[in-house]
Amino acid sequence: MHFPPDGLPPNDAFWSLTMADAKERFVANPLNRYLVGDRSGLVANADGSMDVYIQVTAPAGHESNWLPAPSGSFRLWLRAYLPGAVVLDGQYTVPPVLKTR
């Protein structure tokens, strides 16, 4: 999932991208990480954009931006608490989840 520069969910509190399997259960993983967000230590790219790696095993060199996924289908929740005006106006675009390789 690729967030463009300044493309993280605008908010006045915090935001999160939460992972669950198809039966809406958290996904076990060695980091005990069930979401990424403003509190999870995401690292931005040089141009200010941000990549979240949604995969079963840790992406080498990008562990900080790893959102552990189940091997099957999954569900994602993108939440913005105290959403900013851009969200409330319906002007925020949620980046698509893109399949790579």
């Binding site: 509190a13 915090f14 005990n32 608490y81 105290l82």
Partner: protein
């Protein structure tokens, strides 16, 4: 009247659909209310009391304590710790005291039995300072106010 039965069938289907749309949210709220009153997060939550989900679940959602009920482990939310309760306002208003949250996000949603949200207390509306909030008696007419 060759299409009479078709017309009746469609009419009943549309009416049934409206009934589902109208009553489904209330049904869901009732399920939640019953679960809270009979099972709670770790035990029944009597009317006019509040209970908070065990923090252990929040720290480690995959290994809930044995005391945790299905209500406590349902839902995919690792952001906020829920506190919930059912208030009976037939005998008069209730007072909610919220502590000083020192700028932290929190929200209290007041939901009427018909599933409409009739009041909201929290950082967005009332701020994060300590406050005493009174809920006027009758649901539907009441509004919460911070004092």
């Amino acid at each position: 009247m060759r299409y009479e039965h078709l017309v009746i069938f469609c009419g009943v289907a549309v009416a049934a659909w409206f009934l589902v749309i109208y009553f489904w949210p209330m049904l869901l709220l009732n399920v939640y209310k019953k679960a809270l009153l009979t099972k709670g997060f770790e035990g029944p939550v009597p009317i006019n009391t509040l209970a908070t989900a065990p923090q252990a679940i929040f720290a480690d959602p995959l290994h809930p304590p044995a005391s945790a009920t299905k209500l406590a482990t349902t839902g995919v939310n690792h952001d906020t710790l829920p506190t919930a309760g059912v208030l009976d306002l037939r005998d008069g208003p209730q007072v909610l005291h919220v502590p000083d949250m020192a700028g932290r996000y929190y929200s209290v949603q007041f939901t009427a039995p018909n599933n409409t949200v009739f009041a909201y207390v929290g950082k967005r509306t009332t701020g994060t300072q300590a406050a005493t909030i009174s809920s006027r008696d009758r649901v539907g007419k009441d509004r919460c106010r911070a004092a």
